[in-house]
Symmetry: C2
Amino acid sequence: MEPKRREIEVMANLLSSNDIQAEVNREHFRKNNCLAINVIGSPGAGKTSLLEKTLPLLIVDMHVGVIEGDIFTSRDADRISAHEVPVIQINTGGGCHLDSKMVSNAMPAFNWQATDLMVIENVGNLVCPADFDLGEAFKVIVLSIVEGDDKPAKYPVIFRNAKAVVLNKMDLEAFTDVNMENMKQDILAINPDIQIFEVSCRNGNGLERWTSWLRQAVKDYQGNKM
Amino acid sequence: MEPKRREIEVMANLLSSNDIQAEVNREHFRKNNCLAINVIGSPGAGKTSLLEKTLPLLIVDMHVGVIEGDIFTSRDADRISAHEVPVIQINTGGGCHLDSKMVSNAMPAFNWQATDLMVIENVGNLVCPADFDLGEAFKVIVLSIVEGDDKPAKYPVIFRNAKAVVLNKMDLEAFTDVNMENMKQDILAINPDIQIFEVSCRNGNGLERWTSWLRQAVKDYQGNKM
């Protein structure tokens, strides 16, 4: 039985070491009055597209930084860097999620005296990132409605732990069989307090409401109301 | 340094234990003359929809079994069970991929004297399932084209290790910015031998070519040509 017990110990150490570093990160964000959000979604949900549309609306009155998590390429950071915000690419080298140590390693690249909002875009994955606290104030899910209305019920953990969900690609609703009422009901059954935004990054619908909410979240955080 | 070395040992044991069981599974499939395929894709790529459309075309002349992998619900198995094929649901209880032991545990539920093709639908995840051999003859990727043409380059491991990729939701091509030529070029740059199928589960286009190829793969396997 000895080897089995040893294995469990190691797993526990791995988990708590992530949680300890996440608290260090959280204290760093708090000390610098910077709201940090952890953006999670499947491959192709539109996380980077949402950022590309959101950044121009936010940077008129606040300083935003971006950490891009990907397995191999720097394609997402290349897209974001066109928007005149500081951006750092983290490549996990095969890993299926960011962890708090990777985020900590990226921190020296930013000017923390001038960062109101840090957006951390996680690896495209609706499962594993749910289990790894990065020290963020809250999680935001991006879900493409084309993925289908059964996704919240099938991947409940991430919906339970998020403060907002952006339902993207609404412009495709008419061409799919997705039932938006079922989808929203399932989301609220899992998490009654979650904010739901219906958005199309392609035609711009819904982006203003989402951006206003995020701007207010930064103000609430900086006013210590969150 | 002792704790670190111990951690690496445990990880190595976990991996090889999956590989050992995978070889046992593979021998089981071979002995029973049953082609086993491991179907992998993001949440909402259309893995279950593809099965729903493929099964009626296959069961006219062969016996098919299905193992459904999900995190929590049995929604996919419920959908498949309407198609009069034996189906078993595996719930990983939070786990982000199937492993070879889970597949082995599901085996007693099937009549192996009368199974030509075993379809194992993995958990919706384009990252983690790539690393876990289940004992299948080969992997099939299902990718929704709505996820975007950058996905093969961003998630290359799974494309490198698959025999076929089904590009689904082709009916939405005209309403997206996806560049199909770029996508296919990137796929072939990663894996020149992969078979590419362009399919719409919604309007049926491309299903016949895909199904013919899969039927031939079963015949090749049973004739020991694979």
